[in-house]
């Protein structure tokens, strides 16, 4: 039961990375690929109908974590108080810039919100990357799972490397999504971005993988996920002429396999301890709700998520198709 709960959390967070990942990725590359106002607007409209639903994966994930693992929710959110609040502010900046940008037809207004959009999205990716890196590396925790370290502890070279990798991987993902969603010159520029970012991601992938072996013991399952992720990354290059949807699909698979590797590395811990710290970390067995509460929460969450997947797919298919960029 606790394992099933862990899998549900991993799945919803992976869904968040795949879905909101392309919103963040498009934001990160938009200033570089969109050459004029029409293209910037098209980039926004490419993610416009979807970003809010994508962000809900994070909100719902937080709620599900709260219900399934209340102690992990309490310890992680309060232990990393300031970074979490900053993430909230960045999420606010990202959301508000997307929503308000087109409510007032004025060039300076749009430029201002475009800048907020870019900065908050890019910083969000960096924060998420640092968080992920520290999770893999382990954290100094007390017996209750509360964080004992300092802010400076979080800014270590490994976490920063993961953050840079996350930025690269999501930029690639965003470019693949943009190519899928727009036509014209912007489409060509997005495809070029995929080709240009790819080698950077490859180098970062190798660096992060090697560094991870020195940071944390890596199990066979995680290695298998890593190998598959590497294969997906190579396929992305080898199949460069494949349909846009296939490229985006492979990029999604690459991210999902990475997340699988992370989950396999963490398991069975939600908050693993840094080797030198006193506690062993907060595992899915220490942090969970009672078995009866888990059954109840898992039942309603899984049923709801399946329903969301069904109607979400239907609505998104109806909204699919190219955003036309007026030239």
């Amino acid at each position: 039961m606790n394992v099933a709960a862990f899998v549900v959390i991993a799945v919803i967070l992976t869904a968040y990375v795949l879905l909101d990942g392309y919103d963040l990725g498009v934001a990160a590359i938009a200033p570089f690929v969109a050459r004029n106002e029409r293209q910037r607007l098209a980039a926004m409209q490419a993610i416009g109908p979807f970003w809010n639903g994508n962000e809900v994966c994070l909100i719902a994930g937080g709620g599900i974590l709260f219900a399934l693992f209340p102690r992990a929710y309490a310890a992680s959110f309060s232990g990393f108080y300031l970074p979490f609040i900053v993430v909230l502010w960045l999420l606010m900046g990202r959301g508000i810039s997307l929503e308000l940008r087109d409510h007032y037809p004025n060039r300076m207004w749009r430029q201002f919100w475009d800048a907020i959009f870019f900065l908050s999205s890019a910083l969000l990716v960096v924060f998420f990357g640092v968080a992920l890196g520290n999770l893999i590396r382990g954290l100094p925790l007390d017996a209750q799972g509360y964080f004992l370290g300092t802010f400076a502890f979080l800014l270590n070279w490994y976490a920063l490397l993961v953050a840079v990798f996350a930025l690269g991987a999501l930029a690639l993902h965003g470019a693949a999504f943009l190519a899928l969603r727009v036509d014209g010159e912007l489409n060509q520029r997005a495809k070029m971005a995929v080709r240009r970012i790819w080698p950077v991601v490859l180098v970062l992938f190798v660096l992060v993988t090697v560094a991870t072996f020195f940071t944390h013991p890596v199990g066979a399952v995680a290695v298998a996920f890593g190998v598959l992720a590497f294969a997906a990354l190579l396929a992305l290059r080898a199949l460069a002429r494949a349909p846009e949807a296939a490229i985006f699909g492979i990029s999604s698979a690459f991210l999902a396999l990475q997340m699988g590797a992370v989950a396999a590395t963490l398991f069975p811990y939600l908050l693993p301890a840094f080797p030198q710290s006193a506690g062993a970390g907060l595992s899915i067995y220490d942090a969970s709700s009672s078995p009866a509460a888990l059954v109840s929460a898992l039942g309603v969450s899984i049923a709801g998520l399946v329903a969301v997947a069904v109607y979400g797919t239907i609505v998104w298919r109806m909204l699919a198709g190219k955003v036309h960029v007026a030239e």
Binding site: R38, A67, Y146, S290, G304
Partner: protein
Amino acid sequence: MDVVLADRLQFAFTIMFHYLFPITTMGLAPFVAWFTVRAYRTQDEERARAAAFWTKIFTINFAIGVVTGIPMEFQFGTNWAAFSAKAGAVVGQPLAMEGVYAFFLESIFLGALFYNRGRIPNKLQAVAGVMVWLGSWLSGFFIVATDAWMQHPVGYVVASDGSLQMGNLAAVLLSPFAWWQYTHVLAGALVTGGFVVAGVGAYYLLAGREEAIARRFVHLGTIVAIVFSMLVIFPTGDGNSKNVTQYQPVKLAAMEGLFESTKGAPLAIIGMPDLQNKSLIDPVFVPNILSFLAYGNFDANVKGLSAYATELWPPVELTYYAYHVMVGLGTIFVTIAAVAALLLWRKRLFQTRWMLWLMMLAMPFPYIANEAGWTTTEVGRQPWIVYGLMKTASAASPTVVTGETIFTLIGFVGMYFILGVLFIYLVLREIGIGPSGEAQVREGSVEAVS
């Protein structure tokens, strides 16, 4: 400053600002759905303009509601870790359900409602309008169910480590306490929606613009306002009071400013609570009415504050004033809506300028009444965070210090000030453009058609 007080100030500030927007989205969602579905059914241009106009207002509210709502859920973990660790297995569940069942519905279909909008809504948009309505009301339900559990905990089990575990989800979701609170909250939101739609229509009539469409707004808004300003008092307000009487009698005593237990207790219409002398200053009483409202019996004994230890009292002044502001405004709303409905029935409303002025200027007050109602509920719950089970004083995060909370509170105040200014500016701008002005502005702007 004590860290718990700093945490409470932060929660109070962020929730009170946030709640302004869900009131509006819950109150406007049925109007958006109604105009969208009617426009799709009749293929009528004017209704389509009404739908597009209210969808825009709704979207601005929704956007600010979403961005200010995210900190609410996460504050349970950041600022109230002890509470989350103890009660998360119960309260986490309705919150998770809000995400899974309501937020996805609302946000996915809002994407469909707002994008690819032609002149006349298509079938997807008609469906989306109804789904967004459903989503916003479901979201409200799960939040109110969470709060109602904190007011009157049911369906839980105490585990061996002292934590509270979910025993029976159905009992939590179907708790009568939750349903009276939820219907009351919905009625309050619909009063707001009715007053806003009628008020905007009244503005257009007074300004001599958009007259045909403005009459629709005033007409529909007035009907919703009169129906729900009555329902907000009876049965929903009454049902809530009966629950408070039964389960939170000390809150009732604070709300009513009743210091001594009294047989045939009078209702204080006005008066100022004086904690030194344990009495109301300059009260205006209606004899025996409080006993009747609480117990349905004019001579029933109502327990006063002095029947309880002082440390179990909520902050009396704030609870008392918030409650009286809500009830006073509620009474005024019924009066305004009744006069408007009468004039509408006599077919004189659209020409009665003083009434249109009154309706336009009444718009902010339902917001105040809603906020005052929640203040009564939440401040009146003190000193408990989970009524009878956990004190607010022991609920804060053990690792977070006052300085951090003050810093982030100042950050939130700054950001929300900017959001508030932007919101008012954008909404006033949309109202200025108006339902039929929209087309010209849109064509004039740089727009890629998707």
